[in-house]
Symmetry: C2
Subunit: 352 residues, 2 copies
């Protein structure tokens, strides 16, 4: 056998100090087990990642599984890189199962690009798909086609509740926006104006997660700070050279605005600008991109909110393996943590 050999039921029984019959009952979901024994056995099963039969039979089989990841186009080091690192780790962890992942990309600021790329995915007839959905209207033809073929798919980043995937991994965007609003208004300390910075192309924000964070943010503001003015600055998603000029123009017009937020992962664009201009400003951003973290320690970014993207990529592929190969139940909705990082606590964030 080409892998760690399987744990036997009697080993688990010994570890949990219960009978073999009890372990068998727990594994097969039967009654007649005390709650404490069940918990103990389940804890051990989970810790050992125990798979009755399926693991060995999967190894014995020669079947290959081809998955496709459909993600926004991005540069190395951007947010999606972390998702892809998680996918790569899952590929290594599950390499016994002959799985492969073929990446396809779309332009997140162009709905037709998604339509085109998703068509390409269908042409390849994958065994499973992991993808970051675009807006529901443009996602639907794709999920409908996948459902008709019974091809399981995983949502990464944002969920579409009325087109449920096998499993979703991402932040609860609405709560994330409310949390961000609360933190921003603590920083704002009574100021009556804040600004939302966006990256936009022809009216498209490029991410459901970002749009919904803003909805949650505005809901919180409406509820607790209805008098606070929310300014907006839409930077061009595709013309990076304009950023400084547009920020200059914004602050020339609204010099009093000293608190702001960006719901995308490119807080560093604003943070680095603020540092260059030595402008006193409280900025909240998302995600631990190296340039964001540098801004956090240098003061251009005040708080970052993180969400474990690597785990999203890893668990997305794991869910496909669990479902297709190990025939395990997969949890349909998996909200990621909403973690607040400041320069005081960021050094210890990953020690868990």
């Amino acid at each position: 056998m080409n892998s760690p050999e399987r744990i036997r039921i009697k080993d688990i029984a010994r570890m949990a100090s219960v009978s073999v019959g009890t372990v068998d009952r727990v594994i097969h979901g039967r009654t007649g087990v005390s709650e404490s024994s069940r918990q103990r056995v389940e804890e051990i099963l989970q810790r050992l990642d125990y798979q009755p039969n399926m693991y060995a039979s999967a190894l014995a089989s020669n079947k290959r599984y081809t998955f496709i990841s459909l993600l926004p186009q991005h540069e190395e080091g951007e947010y999606w890189t972390a998702i892809e690192n998680g996918i790569s780790n899952a590929l290594a962890a599950y390499s016994d199962f002959n799985i492969s992942v073929h990446p396809i990309y779309y332009d997140p600021y162009n709905y037709h690009s998604f339509a085109q790329a998703s068509q390409e995915v269908l042409t390849e007839k994958p065994d499973g798909v992991l993808f970051a959905p675009t807006i529901p209207r443009y996602t639907r033809p794709f999920t409908r086609a996948l459902s008709e073929r019974s091809t399981p798919y995983i949502y990464i980043d944002s969920n579409i509740q009325d087109q449920p995937a096998l499993s979703f991994f991402g932040q609860h965007s609405h709560q994330s926006g409310r949390f961000a609003a609360r933190m921003l208004m603590l920083l704002a300390a009574g100021e009556e104006e804040v600004v939302i910075f966006r990256k936009i192309n022809e009216g498209v924000v490029g991410s459901n997660q970002q749009e919904r964070r803003e909805v949650g943010f505005r809901e919180y503001m409406q509820q607790y700070h209805p008098a606070c003015k929310i300014r907006e600055l839409d930077l061009h998603a595709k013309q990076l050279n304009d950023d400084a000029q547009m920020l200059d123009a914004f602050f020339a017009q609204y010099p009093q605005v000293a608190n702001g937020i960006t719901f995308n992962s490119k807080a560093y664009i604003i943070g680095e600008y603020l540092q260059q201009r030595s402008r006193a400003f409280n900025l909240i951003g998302y995600d631990l991109l190296a340039r964001n973290v540098a801004c956090l320690s240098q003061g251009g970014v005040t708080f970052l909110i993180a969400q474990q993207p690597q785990l999203q990529g890893f668990n997305g592929i794991k869910a496909l393996c669990d479902h297709l190969i190990l025939k395990k139940e997969v949890s349909p909705v998996n909200f990621m943590p909403i973690d607040l990082l400041t320069k005081e606590n960021i050094d210890f964030y990953s020690n868990r």
Copy 2:
């Protein structure tokens, strides 16, 4: 064999797409391996928790290991329960190794109790000790005796740098206090008075971690809010019935104080009081005790700071096993995360 059988070097070689010789070189720390191959192999070794030889030989041996945990006395559901849950989980996970942990307790508000209990530990001649140290002066005789016998010991909760343990697990208390100060002053929004609530018995706070958090807190306040007055209320650690009365007296004297913090895990004492009195107050506390979390959702506690106590207990026992049984290197200082929980993000905290 009574456990998952070992992974072979050739399996690892296949998973990392390198030769068997390369894996062997990495395992034995020899040169002649490219950086990328080394990284890939090490990642897989770590993921599989691979132990060359030691695991099998430990299983073959009949040696029993007796550990002692020396922790503060506590009621079920208090902070130390989570540490002990982590210890229990480690016992289950490492049950193949014939380890046992015998708990001994001391009164954290009485240094002589620590001296007495630590003498008891020594009498039992354990193979390893995991303990929450009291102040350095009263810890020294114990660590000196353990060192003379070459008995490895683990610090849980607080570190004593000049008496280094095999391994320490706990928050960076100083940074934790600075982080807490920053958060409290955001809540305080310009108020010029805050209060520190303590639990104290005859001048003893009962925990190095708490004392040092307060040092970090005061350092931050001195640096950024030197004008802010820091009031103190010392509740009796051993006379719980006095709490409400003392809080009443405090707020009668200082009705203007509306922001406070407690560095111990019993924020609920103040939180529940605030709820009963319907008093508007921002309170920061530590740790996810059920009663603290209830206060967080009901409003008696504003923020909680968490630190993964279960992981501390688990990793403490794991470190003893790694060192004594598997002869693995153990990292000497392990700072836990400093996590901020609010009612907006607490539901998602454990999803990682």
